[in-house]
Amino acid sequence: MRTREARLPGNYHDAVVKWRDTFIPDYDFLMDNWEKHFPKEPRFKLCAFRELGICNEIECGDDVGKPKITCPSDLGPDRARHLLGAIRAQASTEFGSIQQHRLTLARAQEETDQVWVLRMMAEELRHGYQMLHLLLEDDWSSVSDQTGPDLVEEILSMQTGSHVLGAFNIDFDSFVDNIVFCALIDRVGKYQLAMQRVSAYKPMAESMPKMLREEAFHLATGVVPMRRWATEAAEGDVYISMEMLQKAINKWLPRGLEMFGDERGGGSNVRMGFKPMKNAEAQDQYRAEVGKLVDDLNMRYLRARLPELGRNEADKLMEEIETERSTRHGVGWEDLIHLSHPHFFRRRGVPAFTMVGFEGETFEALDDYTAHLRRHLPESYLAGRDFRDYLETLKQVAAGELSAVDASRRMPSLRRVGGSCPCSRSVRWVSEEPLPAAADQPAS
């Protein structure tokens, strides 16, 4: 694999390092303990990596077969604006997730889990850096009033909250969130990066392979502890239960689905040659993958509960419990984890603000639905601002005061473009005007 390594110009590099010192205060701990946890693995390095020798021709869309574009001014104004929005959104997502992880990092029970999350945070910083590199190395002046340096400054200063328009918070309530976020939300990242690997804009495509390799580790950072927790739950651990994992998945999965954009959209990305799949298709694949994770956790749980069973017996038992919803050998359907219906607890996209329950059942009365959500979401999350804002808006939709479409618009954007306000100790997801997502919604 031939890669080119690049650094941002001096003062920008320094600005990112300063940002790191603020939001990853345990960075030195990570580096001091690197050899202990990752022996013989190359040490983390803050730089941009561009893969050399990738495909030269546009791989999807209207211009398929033509040479990939290397300079923003050759994209044409529409495509360039679309792409610029995507890069900015990607950059702020990378920086934003670090701010979220930071809140509950210290609550990890195991040093290994904590160090893995820390490494993942450092790599998210590198992802942000990689996006800044795209903004600085190329000349965007023909498509944006802002110069590259302006754009970078804007992204790095998002922590001040100065750009935040309609903000809300999805706080991490415990270390369970750090882990489930990695398993579910970084998995959305995997899809986005994999799709962007074929980008018609060559510098974007060249930026993806290394990021994707790192993303595989981020997913492991989530999935491996979840599997371990399922075993511990089976063994009667008092700190972790399957119900807790179920509720954390219920909290994040609907947000993960929404990060693919409106189910009717994504056509413009495909036409413009930036991504090979429309939103709904990618979303379906994603949900199926999370389904596999859930099946896996259940089997890990069942076999830890009943270690005397062989593989075939365990398979058979699992099938009986799942299909008959019966209790066998003390293990019942409700002891296992299940995937929520894709329309459950949605606030964006086609099912936004429809009152659809965990199993796809529909609710007529707001109170019944609220009670249903309360039963399926983590206790600590119910008290937070995000849930309260959602309920408030749902109430207006249910009362006919607000259309679902307007309510969706009011909900914070799927693509996080805001940073965190340092004083609020929380990350803000905002809806800001020129969003690439907006171009995708609805049917494009």
Binding site: M1, F38, E41, A183, L212, R213, A216, F217, L219, A220, G222, V223, V224, R227, R228, T231, E289, K292, L293, D295, D296, M299, R300, R303, R311
Partner: protein
């Protein structure tokens, strides 16, 4: 039914495949070792996720192969691809699944700049020796030495 080459899809291993990998190992060895596979897969995904592959037939994982490129070991200066862990579902043996996995991994090793690929085979495991021989591997003069501690 034996899978033909065209039915087999090779893709990067994802941690959601851990259950399938554990099952294949259990079918081969008779031992259920989920922790061991979590540890191993975690290791290879950190080293080089592009060298951690699974084979799928009808969306079901039927084989896996893990390896990496290293240099400077055992006096071997040149970058060398190592195939270190492999398994094909016993129900799917002889369907060229192992071969497809090896081809994909070797392609990746070449891209990584390796000019040689090596593996260690326990001579008592004839299936693996036969498999590598038919892929063109030959016994190498480098011999492992062991001593009980």
């Amino acid at each position: 039914m034996q899978a033909t080459t065209t039915d087999v899809q090779i893709r990067q291993l994802d941690t959601v495949d851990l259950g399938a990998v554990t099952t294949i190992d259990e079918k081969i060895t008779g031992r259920y070792r989920p922790d061991e596979w979590e540890r191993r897969v975690g290791y290879y995904l950190r080293r080089d996720p592009d060298a951690a592959l699974v084979a799928e037939v009808d969306s079901e994982v039927v084989g896996f192969m893990l390896g990496e490129v290293r240099s400077g070991e055992f006096g071997l200066e040149e970058p060398t691809g190592w195939i270190e862990v492999l398994g094909v579902d016993p129900d799917r043996r002889g369907g060229a699944i192992g071969q497809r996995l090896a081809e994909a991994l070797l392609d990746h090793f070449r891209v990584e700049g390796a000019t040689t690929v090596r593996t260690l085979v326990d001579e008592t495991m004839e299936d693996i020796a036969g498999f590598f021989s038919s892929l063109g591997f030959e016994p190498a003069p480098l011999r492992p030495f062991v001593k009980a501690l």
